[in-house]
């Protein structure tokens, strides 16, 4: 696990230094929220309508931002064949996958936490149940990243990898998006944690299953 943290710290250090991925993700999420904000400017401040719109707008933004982040997650490793450098280290390939997963979740989570207040400002809307919302977003992001990283490792060497990734990713993350959208809607409508327990359970199970499967399969994706 310690080795996974070293990989995650290395990834975050390189990303905060270059800001290649962060800048793209922040700009993209800004554009999405601003476009929706302009489109629905008539209903800004209308709590009932926004409660209906918010889950969809937020998760559209999160899903697309995740695609950008995930598609770039292995770009540093491919350059100079650093992935072979990692494979030469005395670590299980699962530890490499876990490290990449931790850093990608962290980066996406940072962007998502910037989107929430922006959404609140654009729609003149006071977000309720922030701790519950943070939990949903965290689990949803972890679910998307678990599957996405495996697909990214598969597609990174193909010529049209960045085009292929969303095509493969979106059908697989439907079981994450549905409970995430439903539970976000319930929390924004004033629900409590007990109202979203089924959705959280579903998200949790998805994360565990796909983490285990992806960790095992990851070895085969980076083999020559």
């Amino acid at each position: 696990m310690l080795k996974s943290f070293h990989i995650a710290i290395k990834d975050l250090r390189t990303e905060f230094r270059t800001k290649q991925m962060l800048n793209s993700m922040i700009v993209f999420s800004l554009i999405v929220i601003v476009i929706f904000g302009i489109s629905f400017s008539d209903v800004a401040g209308d709590m009932e309508v926004i409660e209906q719109l918010a889950p969809g707008i937020l998760w559209i933004s999160f899903a697309f931002v995740a695609t950008i982040g995930i598609s770039r997650s292995f770009s540093d490793e491919i350059k100079n064949r650093c992935i072979d450098g990692l494979r030469m280290c005395p670590v299980d390939t699962g530890a490499i996958y876990t490290g990449k997963m931790l850093s990608t979740i962290m980066l996406l989570f940072i962007v998502e936490m910037l989107v929430i207040p922006l959404f609140s400002v654009m729609f003149n809307y006071t977000i309720q149940g922030v701790p519950e919302l943070v939990l949903i977003i965290f689990l949803g992001t972890a679910g998307i990243v678990c599957v996405g990283l495996l697909l990214s490792a598969i597609t990174i060497n193909s010529r049209s990898g960045e085009l292929l990734l969303p095509v493969l990713l979106f059908p697989l993350i439907i079981p994450v998006i549905i409970p995430a959208v439903i539970s976000t809607g319930k929390i924004l409508a004033g629900g409590s944690i007990s109202d979203i327990i089924d959705e959280l359970r579903l998200l949790g199970v998805y994360v565990i299953i796909f983490y285990v499967i992806s960790r095992i399969l990851f070895e085969y994706t980076i083999q020559e």
């Binding site: 080795k3 070293h6 990989i7 290395k10 250090r13 390189t14 230094r17 270059t18 540093d76 350059k79 100079n80 064949r81 650093c82 072979d84 450098g85 990692l86 494979r87 030469m88 280290c89 005395p90 670590v91 299980d92 083999q223 020559e224």
Partner: protein
Amino acid sequence: MNSIVSVKGLHKTFGGRPVLSNINMEVSSGEFVVIFGPNGAGKTTLIKTIATLTQPTKGIVSIEGREAHKHSVDVRRSIGLVSHDTFLYDSLTAEENLLFYGRMFGVDEELLKNRVNQLISDSGLDMRMRDRVATFSKGMKQRLSIARALIHSPCVLLLDEPYSGLDPEATEIFNNFVIRDKDIRVKIMASHNIENGFKLCTRAVIVQNGKIVFNRQKSDIGDAEDFELIYREILGF
């Protein structure tokens, strides 16, 4: 003499096409084996297979008596690999790259700082240790790449075409750096640079079409010119 690296009956095929055929090789402590051969002869595949990066189709590679592909995680502690790809992160500094790889190899944190300083000094990069690798020349990157490969004090150093892109001065600095480390018990290098390769080796091996066609101690060959004649004769040009 007990061999540190042992390759027995190694075969490797890619999509049904044989790349290595029945490779047998024993490398003992103190040896510097240089594998020569034209492009596509199978040198890189052989180095990668010894390094555990590529699975053999058939045959066994052992490092210090341990079967490399069965105990790959453990065996990698004994191997340092320098390739024409540097395995270095451009946006990290030289020091950060070495610290990262040292931690990945589980080098003790206190020892690691000293080891990093020593290797950076040996590679002549003291003044640039806190600069990003992206700003380095090819020669500097290659020297840092050796430092990276030596960070965990391996007993086997594998070098795959390390001279590509290096000018004569950088090559000389690189050679001195490789020769200097006395902790390495075995060095195996793949190269098509006969002059440099023969100067460094204690044994020369020629690979052609995935087979070892020549394997002899340097003392039995003569000088570089003699070897070049043998090389040309074997390869038929």
